[in-house]
């Protein structure tokens, strides 16, 4: 019995210590990111990160957002009028696409794409002693490698979320115009009526928090690789899994805060 309690206690203690270490790591990355643009150094890593995370994800985000917008409007238009609530379809579109599903689905895609890529790349750099080479040459790996990835993923996620919103709402219009004769101006006007400034700010906030979570978790697990190349895929998988959990928790927390605040 004592051994069980001991083991449980040790497990709790280890988790608490790992959490404290991870929080310290996050604060270090945040600090270096804050000072990133004050140093006169090449923005090569940042540029490539935005290109990979943002630009190259556009095709999959386009398809997902168009499809989601179409699905929501089909469900909404067919179900809501039965309850005399057909006018709520625009509110549902804004709530689902702009405030809830848009940010989290975009985050999931980026976590799976960029999160694994960052963790794998950094993990391989550890195994090949490239991180040690940066240190040996007086180049801080957090400032040079982690900060641009943190900034790049966060900025890309915010912009991708805007893109998701545009194409999600556009996808719903395309489907709507197939079944009814609705003017784009009327459709757009109804959407803007249903959308508030709080929705937009909240959507940006969720994207920014999601970007920070994805990048920090991926960098953390990538640099956690110790010796063997076999650890790299293990850490990449852990970064995605842990990232998904934290994304869901963060988004749920922010949603609760939103509803408590309004």
């Amino acid at each position: 019995m004592t051994a069980i309690v001991e083991r449980l206690g040790q497990g709790v203690f280890d988790r608490a210590r790992n959490f404290a270490y991870a929080m310290g790591f996050f604060l270090l990355v945040l600090k270096e990111s804050f000072f990133y643009f004050r140093t006169k150094q090449s923005r090569r890593v940042l540029t490539f990160q935005i290109l990979f995370t943002g630009i190259e994800a556009l095709p999959v985000i386009t398809i997902l957002s168009l499809g989601l917008g179409a699905i929501i409007i089909i469900q909404g238009v067919s179900l809501l009028p039965q309850f005399g609530q057909g006018q709520l379809v625009y509110v549902i579109l804004i709530t689902v696409i702009t405030r809830e599903l848009g940010p989290i689905l975009t985050a999931f895609i980026i976590a799976a794409r960029s999160g694994t890529a960052i963790a794998t790349e950094l993990g391989n750099m550890v195994v090949n002693h490239e991180i040690e080479a940066y240190i040996a040459n007086g180049i801080d790996p957090i400032g040079y490698l982690a900060a641009p990835r943190f900034i790049g993923v966060t900025v890309s996620l915010i912009l991708l979320n805007v893109y998701f919103n545009i194409f999600g709402l556009l996808g719903s219009f395309v489907v709507t115009s197939l079944v009814t004769t609705i003017d784009f101006k009327d459709y757009f006007f109804n959407l803007m009526n249903a959308m508030s400034v709080a929705d937009i700010i909240f959507s940006f906030l969720k994207s920014a928090v999601s970007g920070m979570i994805i990048s920090t978790v991926a960098i953390y697990y990538g640099l956690k690789v110790e010796q063997a190349s076999t650890e790299v895929p293990v850490m990449a998988i852990k970064s995605v899994g842990q990232g998904f959990i934290l994304l869901i928790l963060a988004n749920a927390f922010l949603t609760v805060m939103f509803y408590l605040g309004t």
Binding site: T39, Q41, E130, E132, A133, A136, G138, I139, D140, Y144
Partner: protein, 265 residues
């Protein structure tokens, strides 16, 4: 810059990999770090170079202790040294040129691209490195990667140069160039800390030899003193580099002299 190790240890988990090493390396000295595989040579060099933090003990660079240094002071220490890794450790996502240019661009951001290029090309000419600098490291042979790594270590004109097995993988012509580079660095008063068992480096370059065995420093002395040591373990380690056949002869005489026809006596 003088480097002092004061009861330095390094552990990974519960395993002590470097155990209570104390020594002082004077400025401008050339030290050959020797020892069997797994003795901790590479680890010791990385700890000395502040790439890895010691688990206990203190390292002093000049008069300043590593544990009391600010980030800026530590960066200055690292900028003043070059490190050649055993496996080259070139940055794989950068071209050879970018590998050489990055330290310059990072530490001297106000220098123009033309000036940086000129410096790099001059260094390549000196080392007779004729490979295409626009290639990625994966396209180079092991020897070419090692030479590129040496160039990267020298690009900031460091006062202390660490080289882990620098001649491994080099052909005879490149090895000869390496010796010339080391002689030139020594002439300029650079501190050289070289890991390996190269006999030419031992005889032509090294002022002192530091011998590691199972994570412990077993000897740190001049070449002349060490070849006269009676310590069998040290002689066995040194025999890789120096011809120490007298130990073997003494052992044979011991065995023959004690025998009275009974091998088990």
């Amino acid at each position: 810059m003088r480097i002092v190790l004061d009861h330095v240890s390094y552990s990974s988990g519960n395993t002590v990999l470097i155990d209570d090493v104390s020594c002082e390396l004077e400025e401008g000295v050339a030290v050959l770090v020797m020892g069997p595989s797994g003795s901790g040579k590479t680890l010791l060099m990385k700890v000395m170079a502040s790439i890895l933090p010691p688990s206990s003990g203190e390292i002093r660079y000049g008069e300043k202790a590593l544990s009391t240094m600010s980030d800026r002071e530590l960066q200055k220490i690292r900028t003043g040294q070059g490190f050649v890794f055993q496996d080259a450790a070139l940055w794989q996502n950068l071209t050879v040129y970018q590998n050489l240019a990055l330290p310059l661009e990072y530490h001297y951001p106000r220098r123009g691209a033309a000036q940086i290029r000129s410096h790099i090309l001059a260094l390549c000419r000196k080392m007779d490195f004729q490979e295409d600098l626009s290639h990625r490291p994966t396209l180079l042979s092991a020897g070419e990667r090692k030479v590129a790594s040496i160039l990267r270590a020298l690009v900031l004109d460091p006062h202390t140069v660490y080289m882990d097995e620098p001649s491994a993988g080099l052909d005879s012509a490149s090895s000869a160039y390496l010796l010339d580079i080391l002689k030139d660095l020594k002439r300029k008063g650079k501190t050289l800390i070289i890991g390996g068992h190269d006999s030419q480096i031992a005889s032509m370059i090294a002022d002192r030899i530091l011998v590691m065995d199972e994570g412990r420093l077993v000897a740190y002395d001049t070449v002349q003193n060490l070849v006269r040591t009676d310590n069998r373990r040290i002689r066995a380690i040194l025999s890789d580099v120096f011809d120490l056949s007298s130990t073997y002869d003494a052992d044979i005489l011991d065995i023959l002299g004690s025998s009275d026809g009974d091998p088990f006596a």
